[in-house]
Symmetry: C2
Subunit: 322 residues, 2 copies
């Protein structure tokens, strides 16, 4: 228990090495690391979380890099979580991120953590939330969560940020349509990056119009802002950070309402994700120990039952009828 | 019950419209659809399943299209499941697939189903398996499962096929390294597509060498074959199909051993996926009904507990200690 307390204290003091080791230990499912996380949790909730999502290739990492730079110049400490599930296969992305962001590596005020595969928590979202909790407890002022917008999980992480920016580039064509369908409802800020490309103002106008026409966003009080950036040359980044501030101030004014509801939903989601993995692991362990799992698989192979009926039966036997 | 039986009979007779409607109903979580699936399950297990995976842009859809063409020319019926989790965001891929494959749309012997988002089963893998079961029960000789190799789930679907081919293209550089790490152990066939590109023979040689050196593949009796294709021009596709045959014959000879073990693991995996979603849904319903979920989220918000402790407590209360 003393070891746990010592690690907690070191992380609350912002110690980088201890935090980095804790994150590895969490991924590896070390029980004491989980105890540390429990103790850190009450110290979280102070950092401002910014989600950055968008299709591969729109320049999210470069933009993240510029945002770090801008926030650091203002004297804020920054944590970064880069979630990229495509990485175990395509290899390049995370490596590229690291290279692009490595000029911040020697800056004590910046902590960057890349997540590519599900760790012990069973899902990238749960792992990302654990990292956010640690960075938050370390005292980071801002936490940037960069996710490749593929798959619902990644979009969900970005969506639970305080401010979510969705990045696109000119000329993706159908993409605008896709953003409309799946993403606009989670975007607080819309960014057209690579603004020097042909069609940038067209894309910008399209998005503005879409924002005007949108009727489906639940929280109607905030109208998403649209920005043109050229992250490579640092163009438009200050304006974008000002946009984040504007949204941050909107949330502060609105405290009791939208933010309270959002916090409730975020915590609920976090609990449910942990519960999903936890109850499954526990049940499987029980089924392996008493030999039932092997037996049922054999029954399915012999066509005496099917996986759907077998799964329903097991659930009802375990939890009772609904 | 009679309705269920009628639908089952129609699908066993290979009726396309009924199958398409069933797949939609399964995604929507219609209870009778699940009953149909249970009845279809014992009729599955005859089709030969071919998994096709690889990073975005390597030409998987074009290759799949050519494989359909080749198998149809040989007189086989074909089912296709295209899994693309990137689609809700990037929009293009599935649409592109549909356009590329639509020349088969009027061919009664081909059934194509695209999956982009988690349906009622809670995961793309579980949804894909349900579709495979339906296609199998319909009497399709071959089922092609095309997945974008992003994320472990998609790789898992491909990996549980009878024959899994991993597609790459020349000049991805680091990609080879990534394939080595995450994918080679599931590949029965390795395909270098776009073989007219510079560096094709180099990539081919690299893969051959990697296959020679590999020591980590569990099933050592089969040595992965490497193929050069140019799907756009139908080059190398016949050779690739011959490679599938070769692997198919290998499995047939080896019946009692590798294939039995693979089937056991596949069914086990299928059951566990259904169980994970099933036990979670059931538990959440219970927790919502008795008001505990709301209460616990409040406790977390008030920092009287944390999501990690709360989730562990709930699991132990529900299932008992391990």
């Amino acid at each position: 228990m003393d070891l746990v307390k010592e690690i907690v204290d070191r992380i609350l003091a912002g110690e980088v090495r201890t935090a980095a080791r804790l994150m590895r230990d969490l991924d590896d499912g070390m029980p004491f690391a989980r105890e540390v996380l429990k103790k850190l949790y009450p110290h979280s909730g102070r950092a401002y979380v910014i989600g950055i999502t968008g299709a591969p290739g729109v320049g999210k990492s470069t933009l993240t890099d510029r945002l770090i730079q801008c926030l650091r110049q203002e004297g804020h400490s920054v944590g970064v979580v880069a979630v990229d599930p495509t990485s175990p296969f395509s290899g390049g992305a995370i490596l590229g991120d690291r290279i692009r962001m490595q000029r911040h590596a020697l800056d004590e005020g910046v902590f960057i953590r890349s997540l590519a595969t599900r760790g012990h928590f069973g899902g990238l979202t749960a792992s990302a939330r654990a990292v956010i909790t640690v960075l938050d407890a370390m005292g980071k002022d801002y936490i940037l969560v960069e996710t490749v917008g593929v798959g619902q999980d990644e979009v969900e992480v970005a969506a639970t940020a305080d401010t979510t920016m969705v990045v696109t580039v000119p000329g993706l064509g159908d993409d605008i349509q896709a953003i409309k369908a799946g993403i606009l409802e989670v975007a607080d800020l819309l960014v057209v990056n690579k603004a020097d490309r042909e069609g940038a103002s067209r894309t910008y106008q399209d998005l503005l119009q879409m924002v005007e026409l949108q009727t489906f966003r639940k929280d109607k009080a905030w109208k998403p802002r649209v920005f043109l950036t050229q992250a490579k040359d640092n163009d438009g980044v200050k304006e974008l950070v000002a946009g984040v501030r504007e949204h941050q101030e909107f949330l502060a004014r609105d405290q009791g309402k939208a933010r309270g509801a959002a916090r409730y939903l975020r915590v609920r989601q976090e609990l449910l994700e942990l519960l999903k993995e936890g109850v499954f692991r526990h049940l499987v362990q029980l089924l392996i120990e008493d030999g039932r799992l092997y037996q049922i698989v054999q029954e399915i192979l012999e066509k005496r039952t099917d996986p759907y009926s077998a799964s329903e039966k097991l659930v009802t036997e375990t939890l009772g009828p609904v």
